[in-house]
Amino acid sequence: MRKILVMLFLLVSTLTCFAENRFPKPQFEKGYTLPETTAPGPRSILLESVDVVVLLAALSLATWLVLKKRSRRGVFLLTIFSVIYFGFWKKGCICSIGAIQNVTLWLFDNQYVLPLSAAAYFILPLVFALLFGRVFCAAVCPLGTIQDLMILFPVKVPSCLAQILKLIPYVYLGLGALFAATGTAFVICRLDPFVPIFRLSGKLPILMTGIVLLLIGIFVARPYCRFLCPFSVLLNWMSKLSKWHATITPDECVKCRLCEKSCPFDAIQIPNINQVAEPRISGVHRLIMLLILLPFLAIGGGWAGSRLDVVLARENPTVRLAEAIQQNDQSELKLMVFEKEAFDGSGMKKEDLYVQAHTLRNKFRKGGWFMGGFLGVVFGCSLIGVSIKRTRDSYEPDRGACLSCARCFMSCPKEHQRIKKLNQVNC
């Protein structure tokens, strides 16, 4: 009997039939009640709405603390709250950075339903940045705040290096959006370095990256925010246009240079009014040259991006399966055994799969044009940005890069005056 059983196993072990009524339902003689199949539900929708309300409240509080109260201590306390609430309690998902992909997927795939919370997490920080600057980064974003707490001995990143590293977020954003738009993957979530720390578990390489970034963050303040975060691209743009942005001094800048080194993110721009200005005409020449170069950079970038279609498309499981099956047919080498088994079981035709893979590659080619073109324009614009010297007559935060963290406020003598006045009024 046992032998037969073993043979049976060997014979059919590759074959999985689903739910067959091989054995009839038992007829119990004694009273036996069938146990209920348990189905514990997910986190309630109420908690999800609470998250959105807390996000809104935290953003408003951060705005008030930075712009009205000008209190670093308040921002610091809110920072700690955000790490605990949005990080360790909410365990990361969903966050504004990842929500970029939800919104992109939603734009390109009308089968995907955007959860209201994802929409709120995407839209609220951007609206606040348009009005008040990057208050979201200052004290709300869980990824930013956990790094903020690590800033102990900030050093200055050489500015030419910083200029180059600052382009990484654009590439990351472009790739993240491309993968999301084609429904391939949410790479930004996959590579989120801090979420394993919040969850206290996760894939080892990502966890290690997170820890390394935090350690680097002791010296290079907020490395992820400045040189990786894809959401920072959008926030940077919005913040550049902001209506009420934080200022270093509450009053008029007296150019005492006291705040010069107070920003750990090198976001303070120093006045350049006394420097020898180059003749205006050469600046205009250079600008015109760069403007002519811009379309070429865009087209070149787009072409290069579209060339990457085959490589990038391989990230898509359907394309990967199609390629593996083609290879399996040609050679004896067996790839993706489980995938193949599932495919064979699904009764789908190979030709259909190949067509699907082909459509996907086309999508990647089209998307690659857009992504590459975008990166070309970004590169061109950053060249223009470097080449144009705008005159500045006071110490100001660079609105795009400033995270509104309020660290520089107390270095300004005018701020001390303001506080003294305030205390006198209170007395």
Binding site: T16, A19, P42, Q111, V113, S117, G345
Partner: protein
């Protein structure tokens, strides 16, 4: 001194430069774009699907999230207050074992679930015993489950009840495979939502060879195959 006591000192007090003017225009454009986005999110489109759950009302996402037929779908795409969670379709699952190893949680959120109404209460349970089991006892070496998470209880001759101890189950699906191949298929794998942290992108979903994972509405978070198909 003007503005000394005012915290929100900005260049509003300074004369407006051309730069600020352009900035203002762009800001309003972006605000308008975000407002439109917010508007579509809040207004949503009207569901035109005749048998849709929200027919005639604002779309909140169909239960099965089927492709939308609304002519406005290009304008307003489905947005839902209804959340989605990840679930695997047992009809597609091939029990490859990756559910046990690919979850972001240290012990997978995927567990074996027993649908009692489909079970044959067999004395020789294919999910419980190793193929070459010497005796039909609960000795560890006889068991299919690597962690001994299946409990076997005598009910009456010849019926035995099997229950899963989910605190021990690692979601490897070995019992599911054999029960499906030789038994009634009453054991299936499911994401347990009291454990799952609902990652924005499920880490198992992207590694599942069968494409068994999908987002399902959070108020119907399980894909148990109905027992009616079995009787």
């Amino acid at each position: 001194m003007p503005g000394t006591c005012k915290g929100m000192q900005t260049e509003l007090t300074k004369p407006q430069s051309r730069r600020d003017f352009i900035r203002g225009i762009l800001r309003n454009v972006f605000l308008a774009v975000l407002a439109c986005f917010g508007g579509t999110v809040i207004l949503r489109k009207v569901c035109l699907k005749a048998d849709g759950a929200d027919h005639g009302k604002a779309c909140s996402g169909c239960p099965d999230l089927v492709r939308c037929k609304s002519p406005y779908s290009w304008l307003a795409r489905p947005v839902s207050t209804r959340r989605t969670v990840w679930q695997l379709d047992p009809a597609k699952c091939i029990q490859c074992g990756r559910c046990a190893t690919n979850c972001v949680l240290r012990i997978s959120a995927v567990k074996c679930v027993h649908r009692f109404e489909m079970c044959g209460y067999c004395k020789l349970c294919f999910g419980f015993f190793q193929p070459g089991a010497d005796t039909l006892t609960s000795a560890a070496e006889n068991q299919m489950c690597p962690t001994g998470a299946i409990r076997r209880k005598f009910i009456e001759e010849p019926y035995y009840e099997y229950t899963i101890d989910e605190s021990l189950c690692i979601g490897c699906g070995r019992c599911v495979k054999t029960c499906g191949a030789f038994g009634n298929g009453s054991l299936i794998l499911q994401v347990r939502h009291d454990l799952c942290v609902n990652c924005n992108e499920c880490s198992i979903a992207r590694n599942c060879p069968a494409g068994a994972y999908r987002r399902v509405p959070a108020d119907e978070p399980y894909l148990f195959k109905p027992a009616s198909q079995n009787t």
